[in-house]
Amino acid sequence: MSGAVTEDRRGPLAAFRIVAIANGVAAAYAARMLGAMGAKVLLIEPVGGSPLRREPPFLPSEHGAKASEQSALFAYLAAGMDSEVIDLSSAPGPETLALRLAGADIFIDDTPVPERAAFGTDEAAVAALFPGLVHVSVLSFGAYGPKADWKGEDVVIQHAGGEGNLLPNGLAVEMFPDRAPLKIGGHFGAMQGGIAAALGALAALWARPDAGGQAVDVSSQDAMLAVGAFAIQRLGDGSIEHRVERSFRYGGVIPCADGYLELLTLEQRQWDGLVELLGRPEWALDPALGGNIERSRRGPEINRHIREWALVRRVDDIVSAGQKLGVPLARYKTPAEILGGGQEAHRGLFQRVEVEGPGSLGVLVSPFHFEGRALALRAGPPVLAHCSAPLAVGS
């Protein structure tokens, strides 16, 4: 891990400046993605700091198990940003914000629409004052439409977007068929809104030479639905997915002696490799199992055999041998295993940054490499109201 940010690792967006009002995950994640690729990000925080600073869990302190006041979520999302506290509810807050926007290329905002006019950040006001600015609104249900005033964070977004109703699948739904549907861990749905907002921002910025600045309206619900597009596609094919029937007929989550692995064989050669991996047992050599349709029909029977075989073996042994045979297999890695992973180290996935309270920590930088090199964050999360350099005009 390296904390140094050299010129050639600043990232492809080093020429751009972003101002973000990001009290929720989606807007903050959009700014984080763009910042990791080199854009300079100024996070505008209310008096007392962003609500994200108060989201648990909090990171353990440097010298013991006692929790610091540093939110893991905020520290991850705000890494590399500058911070400025502006009270937008009274003068001179809106005027100060306007000064910052005058020097920005992109403005990301998750303020609820009804509150924007008072801040001077409604779409019309921003367009009039800053004709070259790309103004990205990121809200759970968007800024337009019958539900534009609805609210909701991750669990709501995932269920409003469809994927929530379709999980869990595979082993978990076999074990707990009567339980409530399950959301994807973390902030998956809200982050989809952030990713879509980052894409919208860069697309609008691309059009700026011809179109000038413009408004981009992103809804996390829309983004969640977009990544779940195949359920809609299957509906058009005449099939309604349900979490109980949605599982792959064989493979999936397989319990082993020391953890879980994922197995998925979609192609014939992968099935052939699996049979080799299993040691060519008699049941697998049944000629009837030579075809995908029959294997799908007899999936539960196949899985019983695979699970029995795997339960007394170690995950890494199976994955290593299977991948050599071209069988798609992966360990369900714990966070600690990812932090210590050889692949992740080789790729420079984590960078040591200073986090007030816990001290120096490795934080995930970005899943992107440019020219074969990992990106680098400018710094860790900002101390409240800490700005490394004024964004542009005014201070």
Binding site: Y76, V156, L167
Partner: protein, 398 residues
């Protein structure tokens, strides 16, 4: 005024879902995407998929829609040469083979840069272009498993959970962001470049906060539908078979509002639920009380009541409910597309609205294999009819 990415041309070698979803998004934003496939290696949706119960080709392929299709047999040197001519006329080349395959085909970055110096090349792979695991084969559930997202998804007392195609498409949307960043740099500096997106790292990036917690000595774990701060929070039974309500109560004000809605205002002053910490500690009792209320109401009805009271909630919607929703349709998140026989069906639009330019989204459905060769080979590359016929006879265009 045109769509925002009008003028960008992409030579698209991607296969399966993650890479194609990236170029599908960019095509909806106005990029011209030339999908390169062949009769020997057609797109997966042109083939049967018995695991999904599909015995023939799909009539609509979301991630191929809006693209142009040409046939090239990349096993032949003439096919590689033809592909390079498309790249030479493009701004971007995208691929999602295992690392090394494009080099072996003679279509690696150096080879493409030789025909188009400022080309931006995007590679999407399971583990990235380098490193000890870079050769690993993988699909969406494996990306989630490697990246920790699968491990951190699940009931607290259950196994990890397989993350399906939403994982693929998240990788694709990430890749679109990275690709746009590289294009901006090219506009700024004149230099193209290589973009390498590792799907497992995309999965890890979605739980970056939990990885940071682990780095600091914490022990993140699966927590079902629970939240680290909010309670009530989760998915509650609603009236009817397999009907559910997603609900999150953020702070004391919302808790008091919920208690009033439930008709048990005294809960608001119950010391067990007096603040967030107390509610978290008594989460199971709280969940039972909420369920008593929620199971007597239709999920959409209770969600509307909750939203009116300023509380985040939504019915856990099935796919038909989503496809019919007025809000999503008003935003262009659900659109109608025409099948080859003219029949309309619901599809998913591009997840954003822009205030300027032409309407973004899907303009046309899935292309037939080789449907746009007159344009690409004729107009764009200037191949004559005789040359094309000769290439077809040699099974280069095939």
């Amino acid at each position: 005024m045109a769509k925002p990415l009008a003028g960008i041309r992409i030579a698209d070698f991607t296969v399966h879902n993650a890479g194609p979803f990236c170029t599908h998004l960019l095509s909806q934003l106005g990029a011209e995407v030339i999908k390169i496939e062949s009769a020997m290696r057609p797109d997966a949706f042109r083939k049967p998929h018995p695991v999904y119960g599909r015995e023939g080709p799909a009539t609509f392929d979301q991630v191929a829609s809006n693209k142009l299709s040409v046939r090239i047999n990349l096993k032949k040197p003439e096919g590689v040469a033809l592909a390079k001519r498309i790249v030479a006329a493009s701004d971007v080349a995208t691929e999602s083979f295992r690392p090394g395959v494009m080099d072996r085909l003679g279509l690696g970055y150096d080879a493409l840069r030789a025909v188009r110096e400022d080309i931006v090349m995007l590679s999407v792979s399971s583990s990235g272009q380098g490193g000890p695991d870079s050769h690993f084969a993988g699909y969406a559930p494996l990306f989630g498993a490697w990246g920790g997202l699968g491990e951190l998804t699940g009931y607290a007392d259950g196994p990890p959970v397989e993350i399906r195609h939403v994982m693929d498409h998240t990788v694709g949307m990430n890749a679109a962001v990275a690709l746009m960043a590289a294009l901006h740099r090219r506009r700024e500096t004149g230099q193209g470049g290589q973009v390498d997106v590792a799907a497992r790292e995309v999965a890890a990036s979605l739980v970056g906060d939990m990885l940071l917690l682990a780095a600091a000595g914490g022990a993140p774990a699966r927590m079902g539908n629970a939240h680290a701060r909010m309670a009530p929070h989760g998915v509650y039974a609603a009236k009817g078979e397999d009907r559910w309500l997603a609900l999150e109560v953020d702070g004391d004000r919302e808790w008091c509002a919920l208690a009033a809605l439930m008709g048990v205002a005294e809960l608001a002053t119950d010391p067990r639920f007096a603040n967030e910490n107390a509610r978290r500690l008594h989460r199971e009792q709280l969940d039972a009380l909420v369920t008593q209320w929620s199971c007597g109401l239709e999920a959409d009805e209770s969600a509307a009541l909750l939203q009116q009271a300023g509380i985040g909630a939504h019915a856990s919607w099935t796919t038909p409910e989503i496809a019919a929703d007025a809000h999503l349709r008003s935003r262009g998140a659900i659109v109608e597309v025409a099948e080859p026989d003219g029949k309309l069906r619901a599809a998913v639009g591009v997840p954003m609205r822009l205030s300027k330019g032409a309407e973004i989204g899907i303009d046309k459905g899935t292309p037939a294999l080789g449907e746009h060769e007159d344009y690409v080979y004729g107009e764009l590359l200037g191949l004559g009819r005789e040359e094309r016929r000769s290439l077809e006879e040699a099974q280069v265009i095939h």
